[in-house]
Each structure stands twice: as structure tokens, then as C-alpha cells.
Amino acid sequence: MTALLEVDRLRIEFPTRRGILVAVDDVSFSIEEGEVLGVVGESGAGKSVTGAAVIGLLEPPGRIGRGDIRFEGRQLNGLPQEAMRRIRGAKIGAIFQDPLTSLNPIYSIGRQLTETLTTHTDLSSSQARSRAIDLLNEVGIPAAERRVDSYPHEFSGGMRQRVVIALAICVNPRLIIADEPTTALDVSIQAQIIGLLKNLCHEHRTAIMLITHDMGVIAEMSDRVAVMYAGRIAEIGPLREVVKSPKHPYTVGLMDSIPKVGQEKDQLSHIRGAMPRLQEIPPGCPFHPRCPEAFDRCQVERPDMMDTGHPRQAASCWKYARTASHG
């Protein structure tokens, strides 16, 4: 079976006055049907840009320098705008960070839903309206029949994010790119929204690419996790393995720096230093200046994704070079 979404050796560049900035390099991953892939990383690690490239929202001057994005086996990048729009059309949805600006303030939410529905399906406008009410019920908007004619500003942030989810799922997309869907919400609302997304995707067998910097959200929702660092994937694998037995030193540091309830510590552990700026990504492994386990090879040669001994869990770290070469 081919994966729903395949990203192969993707490289995203931003040409600037001082040369080309490589925001994302050599990123490969795939998402199966109905699977939730969490993408974590610090700000600037390239998570959002990768997501934007998949949904075709990479703003110029950003461009895909190399690599492929395939959706349902069809290549998306390199296609002319119009053709790409048609393929993507109803099949890839998006949920963004800020529910305050995700809805057009001058149209009622019902109108936004019905318009999306009538554009992408054969429903008549009255059918679309009743479908819109069903959708609002489904995402947990109370009194949907009444609220359907309300305007976005009459909703709270959490409710608005529910409407955004309703909009994202209304045409039954195969894949949803959720870029920080809960970052702008209260913690208590976050849990509700995560739960809602999880249930809906389970029911509709929709795959999700969940982009966030919040490990809690990832742990709650995803099947697999990709950890990004300085535009590259540091480690990718099933949620349990990545959280319980991280392989890449960066992931290890990341997991250690999450405070745990009941644990007594005078100081939270952290990773020394900061992520390099895009212009100053060091040669070799981009993490080596901060890596406690770095050795000579790390400073000169860039590691590929290596087998870590666990099936489906891979890390880009020279530590595993031997295991890889010996099979």
C-alpha cells in the first residue's frame, strides 16, 4: 500500500540578499491513511514551513529546492497552480493556530460552511445548510440550529476553533494539516479540542499532520512523531518509542526538559545553547555543538537517517552508524 502523503528529501529554500537560506533540508516522511503524525521542534525548526509546502501555501520567495511531495501517489510540487489546486482541492484541509483570524469576520459561520460545501460537493444550498448544522453539532457547538447564523465574533476562542474544525472536515478531506491548532487556547479548552480532533479523525479515517511545539499535545494525539531540528528531522518513530526511549541526543534532551509531575528538581534540565540561525547551521550534524555525545565525525559529516535497532524508529545520528552498517 502506498502512503497517503509522501515527502521525499524535501528541501525548502529562501533566496535572500546574502545567499540562499535553507529552511528545510533533506526531510523525508510519510503519513498513512488515518494516521496522526506529530511534528515537534523549536521555533524555526522548519515545522510550519514543511506544512505550508504540503498545502501549497509556501509564500514567495520561499520555494521547494529539491525533493518531492506526493499525495495519493501523485506528485504535488512542480505542478502549475491551477492543477495543484484541483488535486488538493477538497482532499487536504488545514487548521491554523489562531481561531480569531481563521474565520472571515463578515460572513456568518453557516454561510462559510455552506459555501465551502456547495463549492466542493453536489449538495444544494438547503442540503448544505442542514449538513452545516449537523457538522456544528458534530464538533460540539450547542444549539447549532440557532448558532449557525451567528458571526465569528459572537463565539469564544474555543468555540471558534470548533467551527474551524467543522470547516476543515466538512468536505471529508483525506489529510488535515493542523499547524499549532491549540496553541492559542486555554489549557482546559486544548484538551477538548484535541479530543474532538482525535475522535473525528478516527471516525472519518482522516490522516493528520499535527505541527506543534507542545509535547503534551503530541503525546495525547499522535501515532508517530517526527522531531525536527534546524530544518532536518532528528528522529522519527512511533510515539511510545520516541517518548520512552528516545534515540537522538536532541530528543533525549527534549524529553528531559519536560517537567514531570511529582518529580523534585531544583532546576529544570535544559539543552545547552540555542538552535543555530539558518545562516549559521554548522557543517556536519547541525546539533553537534550542543550535543553531549558528539565525536569527531559529527563535526565534518552530515548524518543520514539511521536505523536505530528498533523497527520504524530512525534517527539522524552517527551514534547508530555502526548498527546500520552491520545490518
Binding site: 501549497g56 483570524t101 474565520l103 472571515n104 469576520p105 463578515i106 465551502t116 463549492t119 470547516l167
Partner: protein, 303 residues
Amino acid sequence: MGWLKRVIDHDISYSFTRSWVIMLAAFVTLFIIITSVFAPWVTIHDPFNPSSLNLMDAFTPPIWVEGGKWTYPLGTDDQGRDILSTIMFGNRISLLVGFLSVLLAMLIGVTLGTVSGYIGGWLDSLIMRLADAQLTVPPILIALLVNGVARASLMQELQESLAIYVLVFSIGIAAWPQYARVTRSGAMVERNKEYIAAAKVIGVHPGLIMVRHIVPNVMGPTMVLATIGVPLAIIIEATLSFLGVGVPPTTPSLGTLIRIGNEFLFSGEWWITIFPALALVVLVLSVNLIGDWLRDTFNPKLR
């Protein structure tokens, strides 16, 4: 009657009823609009029908001056035309030109501004440099220039009948850069909002995104600018007519009336120019007050 309750309950209505100046300005504006729209029915005389004019009545002063007649409350001009009636007809032309030229300026400005702000790139630079270049020249000069060129390229017999539209065209052309600038800055803000990204993701055509999402969301400030733009356009029209390049004297606007009256100012018939001038001041002031009030009400920082 749910909508009526909403209108009455609205913040804007509240702010409206709180200020007697605004209510007065609105009343005066409404009064002027109604009397000018229905000018042929509300005026006692038809100042533009030569057969109804009586040259014996020429230079009749206003009623409160000795020699005034009740039939000509504000007096008459050199041809015996009733000043009050000519003012109402003059308002008609002034308002028509004011509104139409603002509409034209908005049409050009909003279209170019939206395209400029949303698409950006070299197109944005081109449109905005064009606007900048035009803004370096006073609008009245642009209007004069466009007006002259348009007239020169029209056939002689058409000039008279198309004079108003030539005026509208030239004033509209002169005013578009402001609308383009305001719309552009709005479009640049809206462009980065996530509902636009969402629309792009589901494959809405860029043209449709601009028409359905960008334009309605940036119209607020543009509408305020337009309310302030109407009196400006009226003044430009009056200036052009005063200079003799606007509407012809047979269908005079306020500017034309002021110019005609100006010739008699020093021979003692002051009312021929003073009353149209006062009418212009009242009209421009009331519309301007409404515009200012709208701007303040829509700007939360000034409340």
C-alpha cells in the same frame, strides 16, 4: 422587526443620538439631498426655462431688503432667475458630481489597491509608484488636465451634454490614489489572516478571494474616506466650474452660480453670489461633519 431593534441598539446609533451637531448635520444633509433630488417639483420657478423668465424681475434683492418680492425669497440674478431655485438645481449637479466621482475614484482605487496589496510584487510597486507620482500633483491640477484633454478629444456638439460626465471622470481620476492606498494597506493586513490561507487551501480562485474576502473586509475605512471625499469632490467641482471649465451656465452648479454672481458682487447685487456660496459652505460642512464623525466612530482608538 429584529433588524430595526439591532440598528437602534447599535453603538453607532447611540453615538449618533448623543451629538446634536451630528444630528443637525445629518438633518441638513438629508434636507439638501431631498430638495435637490425633487428640485423640479419643490421649486416655485423653473430657472432654466427661458420662457418663464421675466427680465423685469432681474436683480430683485432678497425679501428682507427693500424692493424684495415674496415670489423670490433670495432674490434673482441678472436674467431674473430665482436664486433659491437655482441653488436647489445647483445642489443637484454638485451632489451628483460629488457622489459619482467618489464612486468612480473608489472603483478605480479599491480595485487597484486590492490587487496591489493582495498580489504584491512588481505589480504592487508599479501601482503604488503611479499613485505616489499622482499624489505629488494637486488633485485640482490633475482634474483640470484630465478635463481639458477629455474635452479636447470630444466632438464640439457633445461637449455640452457630456460636460457633467467629463467632470466626474476627471475628478474621479484625480482622487483614486487615496482610495488605493487605504485599500492596499487593508488588503495587506487581511492577506495574512488565516481565513485567507484557509480559502487558498481549499482552492478558491485568487480573484474570488479578493472579491469575496478581501474587499468586504477592507471597505470600512474606505467608506469613511469616501464620506470625506464627497465634500472634497464637490469643492473641486465648484472650483472647476468657478474657473469656467466645469458645467456650462445653462445647467449651473453651485460653482457656476458663484462665478456668475461674482461679476455683480461689486455693483451691489451681493445676493447673487453670496447665497450659492453659503449653500456650498453648508453642504460641504454638513457632509464633512458626518464624515469626521463616521471616522471617529469607526476608529476604536478615538472613542
